[in-house]
Symmetry: C2
Subunit: 315 residues, 2 copies
């Protein structure tokens, strides 16, 4: 059975979104870097607009279909909300973002600054999602899903397209997994090319790991310092269907390993990273993923939406 | 009269230091970035070891001559001290760094972590320098000057070599100036090649600007938020002699423009920068340097040794 998303789909998405996104740098480092004896390629995707890879999927969704007059809506107090707000503003589309009361004031402020209307309500994410769905059904606004959507995944797959051009010949790439939109896009890009795509999830937030184990999408409980970006309870059917065919395996990292990766990134590299953005590196540093000698390893640094005062506290 | 430092000298320095330094990414961005209608090339040198360009000069100095048994010494509570400590540790050379009591505990801690012996004493930088000079004369240790030294400048010039390879065809590069070691190295690299090298100094710390005006190195008073990295009182003879021939002019930026550049770098780019590292961008954003339409402008981001809690306060 062909995969739901092809390289041609991702190339088409790239043509759509490239005037609007940043082509982020790929930094190819020599053997001996970050404790690994082979070359290491860092994709610096945290330098993307709005601080994560997510505008790629948001732009691709908004540019793939007619957008209703009511504009666009999303339920997210975090990186997805910021990305939808950013993309909508750039395209002149009204955006309404539904966030639960628990969302950090800093992230809500980012979303507001990016020009979206914010609706705060409810104790949990599910409450915000409910309010968003009601808004969509009442107004006909376009809803953008953070990961369980073909156009979202096509957009995130463009990370792989750029990375391959700038670092040909990688053996393995390490990619953090929340809902799995990013990894299923990247793994669709590299499917059947002999490149091992390895997911990285926190031990306490392992939706994809559990689903691959169960052979179907299953709910997990979420308890991790990276929950604000990697805290999906379920990957959904589409991500699962792609990942089952294209992802080599999922490595699990402890919260301590994520913290240590954040510390290493700031102390030795002057890169400020959020927990989810440091998780893939955490797998390499903690040996949750052990490359073979000389293996050419790519590590995706996918997000930097951290409060600096909080990052300062953990150093 | 030939310049004191040639392209061949800088190439030789690069061969010496390249196993020890990071080749930092150059990010070539399309027209319309950062408020400029022409292409903008960012050299991400803050990703260098020890958080600034300075290990280039330190390694080149240590690898250009026999190092005495007493090792190496420097007077600096800041970026130069950290760079010398880093380079000495990598080469297995004992390092003693003299810092005044006013130095920030965070920077002293960085220097200590990098493996150097620290001697804290005296109220001012001059006291630390006096103690360092006494140590050098008593022990025969090698002293590394932060800017007024041929081998230091050769090393810093390798930033230009890498940048030219990764961004051929620039019209102009903007480079922050403290003592002037960095800009005189870069301007030596590009001398006579039709590339305009523009210095950027804070209005309150303009050693090179004042010297070019006076026609000789002169002392200035220093009062700027970037004083901890750009706060040299005098460029010295060597920097002046090179800069007079090779630097197009020095643009002066206000402290407010530097702060705004720091804010822009974090808010829109997720780059944490110290004031001195953001000064060159501040010249572009505040129009202290006004490029012509379509001009191909390079901006050097040269340092990230900022305390995150303090950066958080100014956002």
């Amino acid at each position: 059975m062909p995969l739901p998303i092809s390289r041609a789909d991702i190339r088409a998405a790239y043509e759509r979104i490239r005037p609007h996104i940043r082509r982020t740098p790929v930094w190819n480092l020599p053997p001996g870097t970050l404790g690994h004896d082979g070359p290491v390629s860092l994709k610096l995707e945290f330098l993307q607009h709005a601080g994560t890879f997510k505008p790629r999927g948001a732009f691709n969704t908004l540019l793939s279909q007619p957008v209703p007059k009511a504009g666009v809506a999303a339920a997210s107090g975090g990186n997805h909300g910021a990305a939808v707000a950013y993309a909508a503003k750039q395209l002149g589309i009204p955006a309404r973002i539904f966030v639960p009361e628990i969302s950090s004031p800093a992230k809500v402020e980012i979303i507001r600054r990016l020009g979206a209307e914010i609706v705060i309500g409810g104790q949990r994410y599910a409450d915000a999602l409910g309010a968003c769905n009601q808004h969509v059904s009442e107004t006909g606004a376009l809803s953008i899903h953070a990961y369980d959507s073909v156009t979202t995944i096509q957009g995130q797959g463009t990370v792989g397209l750029e990375w391959e051009e700038d670092a040909p010949g990688l053996d393995t790439v390490l990619v953090a997994v929340g809902g799995g939109g990013l990894i299923s896009g990247i793994a669709s890009w590299w499917a059947g090319r002999g490149i091992k795509v390895v997911g990285v999830e926190p031990e306490g937030s392992r939706a994809l790991h559990a689903s691959l184990e169960a052979g179907r999408p299953v709910d997990v409980t979420v308890e991790s310092i990276a929950a604000d970006s990697l805290g999906a309870r379920n990957t959904g059917e589409l991500v699962f269907a792609i990942a089952r065919e294209t992802v080599d395996h999922v490595a699990l990292v402890t919260d301590a390993a994520i913290r240590e990766a954040q510390r290493t990134l700031w102390r030795d590299w002057r890169i400020a990273s959020e927990p989810g953005g440091a998780a893939a590196l955490g797998a390499l540093l903690s040996k949750a993923y052990r490359p073979k000698p000389g293996e050419r390893v790519g590590v995706l640094l996918c997000g930097a939406n951290v409060e600096l005062s909080k990052l300062a506290e953990i150093l």
